[in-house]
């Protein structure tokens, strides 16, 4: 059955797959996670602020991102970015933004909505007493939030944040729809060029599986260690 298959194509394209494709994937994952958590935390703070001027836009943004398919958002930003760039830089023509930059902005802003909900749950799980105690000691709200509440919230939500990162890692494959060369894109290019779809897509599936499995096992292990310490 496997006589017609040429698994050599995998070994031959390994450098391309990993140096071009996987580095793009991992870089996008890492940067989008960091940016997403930062913006997500800001959004969470806005939603918990109590002032309508902050909560309403934040809530609207989060709900919008969560109502719409990621693929559609990727298209939105892909076409929107040149015009936003033009508006920001006041140039005559729509700004040509690179593929990576476009993807980074898309992923960061999209995932921020999900990180927002995670951080919101995390912040709310820290008892009000903590904030009260901090303020009773004379700390301002920002200081108390920054030094007392957020550190604890992060620690509590670390496993969930990491799980969302794994989801982000898998979602990077969707950049395929704008023909960007991430790991899947690279595998796809090789598959089409050499006519080896079965081998390449199977290989891609296996690689994603191994990485995701290892990552989620690590998260579970970390979760157990944190639980023991607590």
């Amino acid at each position: 059955m496997f006589a017609n298959y040429d698994f050599d194509v995998i070994w031959r394209s390994l450098p391309y797959l990993f140096y071009q494709g996987m580095t793009f994937t991992l870089l996008l994952t890492a940067l989008a996670t960091l940016g997403g958590i930062v913006i997500g935390t800001l959004l969470a703070l806005m939603r918990l602020s109590g002032t309508a001027m902050l909560t309403l836009p934040a809530a609207a943004y989060v709900n919008l991102m969560r109502s719409v398919p990621f693929v559609l958002m990727i298209f939105w930003f892909y076409f929107l970015m040149p015009y936003i760039g033009q508006w920001i830089t006041r140039s005559a023509q729509p700004l040509q933004v690179g593929a990576f930059a476009s993807c980074l902005v898309t992923f960061t802003l999209f995932e921020a909505a999900f990180f927002c909900e995670i951080m919101r749950a995390g912040i709310q799980s820290i008892s009000r007493g903590q904030m009260a105690a901090a303020q009773a000691l004379g700390m301002t709200y920002p200081t108390a939030m920054g030094f007392i509440v957020l550190p604890q919230a992060f620690r509590n939500m670390a496993p969930v944040l990491l799980t969302q990162t794994i989801i982000l890692f898998q979602d990077t494959s969707l950049v395929y729809v704008i023909s960007v060369t991430d790991f899947l894109g690279a595998a796809s290019k090789v598959a089409e060029r050499d006519g080896r779809l079965v081998e390449m897509y199977t290989f891609a599936a296996v690689v994603y599986f191994i990485i995701s499995l290892a990552a989620s096992r690590t998260v579970a292990h970390l979760q157990r260690r944190i639980a023991i310490i607590r």
């Binding site: 919008l64 990621f70 298209f75 898998q170 899947l184 779809l197 079965v198 199977t202 599936a205 989620s216």
Partner: protein, 249 residues
């Protein structure tokens, strides 16, 4: 901004010569909802089964359930769709493979299977969590009355589980609808694909994507409200309810 706005584009004829752009978007919406509905049926059935298996007192069943969930959860949906669409027809017996490749609406069936199985793993997680959250005595009381294990799951454990996991299950239903968009990569002309096609042919980028966005938001609102009605109708009088955590997308 050098963009030429034309909101009347929706009423203009699309390249297929028969439908207006608006009608193509509606056709796409139909495919989106059909794909999501069929996939959800698969997801709910298989997911409940696997979720229940993971709570049974048989090590083999639990292991099978865990492997199943891990398999469908650790590979991106897009890759899974490619596997079903490109790889499966090649590795099955030749005659079957040829038949698969010539199937009309192949992308629809592929999308339904791929999406259904992918979401079934997530449903299984919810069902398992729901069953485990029930008091241990429920299972014991059912068994003590002489109900067999399948009867215990069917009449006692699963009915309460579904009520408990309604909120996260609603999330997963909405995710199913959103994830149907991934099938545009294998040729399914669902809503996002139609919006993209409209953009490609008419160059009215923002009109096309705004329309799609609004339609998705409307679907979201309708489904959420409908599920809330269902939740209220099946609510058990006097039961205080359990707050289950929400799922990531």
């Amino acid at each position: 901004m050098n963009y030429h706005w034309n909101w009347a584009i929706f009423w203009e004829l699309s390249p297929d010569g028969v439908h207006t752009y608006f009608q193509t978007l509606l056709l796409g919406t139909g495919w989106t909802l059909a794909t999501a509905a069929c996939a959800w049926i698969i997801a709910l059935t298989l997911g409940s089964l696997v979720g229940a298996l993971r709570t049974m007192p048989f090590a083999a069943a639990v292991r099978f359930g865990n492997v199943y969930v891990e398999l469908f959860r650790d590979v991106p949906l897009l890759v899974q769709m490619f596997l079903w669409y490109f790889v499966v027809p090649e590795i099955v017996p030749h005659a079957f493979g040829t038949w698969l490749k010539q199937l009309p609406n192949a992308s629809f069936y592929t999308a339904v299977v791929a999406l259904g199985l992918y979401m079934s793993a997530r449903v299984a997680e919810q069902v398992r969590a729901g069953i485990l959250s029930l008091p241990r005595g429920q299972r014991q009381a059912a068994l003590a009355l002489g109900l067999t294990l399948p009867q215990t799951y069917a009449y006692v454990l699963l009915p309460m589980t579904y009520r408990i996991i309604m909120p996260p299950l609603t999330s997963e239903l909405l995710n199913t609808i959103k994830n149907s968009a991934v099938a545009l990569t294998i040729g399914l002309m669902e809503l996002t694909a139609r919006a993209r096609a409209m953009q490609e042919f008419s160059f009215q980028v923002f009109e096309a994507f705004t329309a799609a966005t609004i339609i998705y938001i409307v679907i979201n609102i309708v489904v959420t409200l409908a599920m809330r009605v269902v939740e209220r109708r099946i609510a058990v009088p006097g039961y205080l309810g359990f707050k289950a955590p929400a799922a990531g997308h």
